[in-house]
Symmetry: C2
Subunit: 195 residues, 2 copies
């Protein structure tokens, strides 16, 4: 895995119900003493109806259909805006935590999408973007292992995963379940509280 | 050129100085009795510094460099948001007026970029987007010819092109010059007023 000497962090506020994830990102940025910026993209909740931005939509997975938590175009929009931000600062390397392994049915978390948008954004701005996805082929258990190896295990205490956006976490939504399964497989207790 | 029975129009408000182009789009939509919506993307002017959103930057072309009017990631962002909008309405066909011929040095107006983002967006949303670019290989004179052929020549009276955003148009910015050249080549007078 490539390491970088200088890092800037960005979060996206797109009207998600679990906006507390932005606070979590800020706390972690502060712990790591890294600059963090929140970029606002209200257009996403203005245009789409899904369980992550609209609490009248139930969080559920569906047979042969994308889950109700899928936000159309979210990662395409995030990566496009991250690339615009990066180029202004002379940055070519973009790192994102998308993951194809613990598959949640999100097409925009897959390797083929990332390869494609890397090319698209490089063409769009005539700039050699490189999108890094260190978690792409890791299970959640392996991601926890990576955090431990990098000496960052205690930072998991400050992370947020729950789709409901509650703290303590609900423990029941698909995101909580995936997280809990990861900790169980890795053989340690989760560091956050559940209801 | 493919024709469509049902059409919806979208414009983008990204903090451009020539915001009057949105009013022009609305007027034309009204003339054609087509629904029109303006989508707000303030993030573009928040993140980038260029002559189109910042009047302290001079409008100019530069040798071996992108012109100061190039807005990083603009068409990538527009097409991504247009695709999100389209999918919510069950629309697969997206039409955009980008043009590679009357080359202004914009990489995100080129055919290879359009092909690439069409694939990227289809992968991102698991949806068969088709991006149409009827003006891609037309000169401005040929675009005017197309308008005449389609019986829409008089609509050019309501269009806006000037980067300065003034009405009457400045007649001196690169966009005005390109437009005037097109009318001259086509052999008719422009239908808008110039200073």
């Amino acid at each position: 895995m490539k390491k970088f000497r200088k890092v800037r962090l960005v979060s996206f506020d797109y009207g998600q119900r679990h906006k507390t994830e932005i606070q979590a990102a800020k706390r972690i940025a502060k712990k790591l003493d890294l600059p963090h910026q929140t970029l606002r993209l209200p257009i996403l909740s203005e245009l789409t109806r899904n369980a992550l931005t609209d609490n009248t939509v139930k969080i559920k997975t569906r047979k042969n259909k994308l889950p109700t938590t899928f936000v159309d175009g979210r990662n395409a929009l995030f990566l496009t805006v991250a690339a615009i931000y990066a180029k202004q600062k002379g940055i070519s390397d973009i790192v994102t935590g998308v993951c194809q392994t613990d598959y949640s049915g999100y097409p925009d978390c897959r390797q083929d999408f990332i390869k494609s948008i890397q090319k698209t954004l490089s063409l769009a701005m005539e700039y050699p973007f490189k999108i890094h996805t260190p978690l792409m082929f890791l299970s959640k258990a392996q991601s926890i292992g990576l955090m431990e190896k990098l000496g960052g295990l205690e930072l998991l205490k400050y992370t947020h995963t729950c789709y409901e956006g509650t703290s303590p976490a609900c423990g029941k939504c698909p995101a909580c379940k995936l997280r809990l399964k990861g900790f169980k497989e890795y053989g340690i207790d989760d560091l956050i509280y559940y209801r």
